[in-house]
């Protein structure tokens, strides 16, 4: 038997396979398909200060080995989350981590402070890919100083494990990683979606109502792996890697590149049980290659 458990900033995960925010709902929709208690963790979908309707339809376009979405953080706000959702899911036997989003530093702080009070939530993941409404719509995650600022502000009110999720749409991912570590991040998730676009030539219109949207799926895996590897060399906090993971092999690639855990995103849409298959696939790989603990794989890429 191999040891799949892994420590991330003092939090023990039973295995390194978690599900990505926005692709797993609150986990409830998966109960028909699987025992969610077998997952390393669930990153529940983005929670903002107030209710958000999200963007108009159409919100999705299929692309080669991927998809674009422009859901736009649709959710009923933090109060609804705490009152309605949390009681329904708090007994799932896995780490529940809330993806915290906002358009101002104040909104991030408000949501983080409210989530801090929920006993069964051991960590949050700050989603800093959102445009900062006060600073002309430039995303928090694209300017290092802004990234440090929002992380530090949340750090003040949030006492548990603070993860920050980075956007890949930047010239230097390592600058952003260092910026959030400076702000007090305990761990870094990467990557969020690449900004992309799809066009319908028959209608001569963008497919998405928002014109551009976020690209996810296997198409982005090479970029995601590269960023995990670059950040792994640049900072000393644990990393959670994602982007196009479809199977155990993809997952092991992220671990080797330096991720301590992974998130499965778009793949959940194609096979809702894929995470469990990945967990057993990692175990197979470790047995075949004589690894005892999954932590031996983390950053074990041989580059000489």
């Amino acid at each position: 038997m191999t040891d799949l458990s892994i420590d991330i900033a003092g939090l023990r995960f039973k295995n390194p396979v978690t599900t990505a925010s926005g692709t797993f709902g609150y986990g409830e929709e998966f109960l028909d398909f699987m025992d969610v208690g077998q997952l390393g963790g669930i990153f529940v979908k983005a929670v903002t200060g107030k209710n958000r309707d999200g963007n108009p339809y159409p919100r999705m376009a299929e692309t080669p080995s991927g998809m674009l979405n422009s859901v736009g953080l649709q959710n009923k706000g933090v109060t609804h989350f705490c009152r309605e959702i949390y009681p329904r899911i708090k007994n799932f036997r896995t780490h529940l981590i809330v993806n915290v989003s906002g358009s101002t530093v104040e909104e991030y702080v408000e949501v983080a402070a409210r989530i801090n009070e929920l006993e069964a939530i051991p960590a949050i993941e700050l989603n800093i890919s959102c445009p900062n409404v006060k600073l002309g719509g430039m995303a928090f995650g694209t300017v290092p100083a802004m990234a440090t600022e929002v992380t530090a502000a949340v750090r003040k009110v949030y006492g548990k494990v603070l993860m920050v999720k980075l956007s890949p749409n930047v010239t230097s991912i390592t600058d952003l990683a260092k910026a959030v570590v400076d702000g007090g991040a305990d761990a870094i998730t990467l990557i969020n979606t690449l900004l992309g676009m799809a066009i319908d030539v028959n209608r001569r219109r963008p497919v998405l109502s928002t014109i551009t949207g976020g690209l996810s799926g296997p198409a982005i895996k090479p970029v995601a792996l590269r960023m995990v590897w670059q950040v792994h060399k640049a900072v000393h906090v644990p990393l959670i890697g994602l982007g196009g993971i479809m199977n155990a092999t993809d997952t092991i690639e992220f671990l080797l590149a330096g991720a301590s855990a992974v998130q499965v995103g778009t793949a959940n849409f194609i096979d809702p049980t894929v995470s469990l298959k990945i967990i057993s696939g990692i175990d197979d790989y470790m047995q075949k290659n004589n690894f005892k603990s999954v932590s031996e794989l983390v950053g074990a890429l041989n580059t000489d």
Partner: protein, 261 residues
Amino acid sequence: MHFQKVIRDLTVLSNIRLNDRHFVLDLMAPDPLPTMLPGQFAQILVEHSPHTFLRRPFSIHNVDYHQNTIRFLIQIKGDGTRNLSTIKEREILNVIFPLGNSFSLPVTGKVLLVGGGCGVAPLLFLARFLNQNHIHPDILVGFRTKKEVSEIESYAKYGNVQVITDDGTEGEKGLVTDHPVFQKERLDYRKIYCCGPEAMMKAVAGLARFHGIDCEVSLENTMACGFGVCLCCITPTDKGNERVCVEGPVFNTNRLNWFGS
């Protein structure tokens, strides 16, 4: 009402080509099928198609609980459906089902089913279901042309079928709303169930509304997951943005924002 959703490898029992653009797939399950209702759909995984990344949603056309078979009526649109059209007997398809809500249980009185093109798919199952509930519906099906008219005998088992074609090569000529059933004096239905292209559903819903008839439609939408987690498939309703794959695909047209506010 919660329907247990399952992921199953189903075996292709038959793949019958109806015409250039349509085919009927019969899939068989090894174990008993879960309960499903008309209007629900399935998400089929299309392997071997390099340009088909996500699953493809298809309405349940019919179910046979004794033989454990489930039937789909599919129109060839792009790579995914083209690929499915070439699948052979005994091959395996991975399917998630049943998904979404269903047409609401029938009221007493006369009801009309209106289907256009491939939108007829859920109506066969619905007609049979109404029949089991002692309702003999009127069924109006529209096709582009005679060559595409199909399965009329199947519908005829459950109701009075009328056909209309765009080019008049079979039945009446014109769009479904041109058909005599929509003449004012005959519109004495308690309910209209409609499925087809959005423009057609809007036209039918408009007539129904004008005559004060309850109308349910089955919406299409681009779906990533099909089971409620991605929030890609929303439609604006009186309750805000609702998911077509969970709160739909069937909506009472009064709840949609089709007629302005």
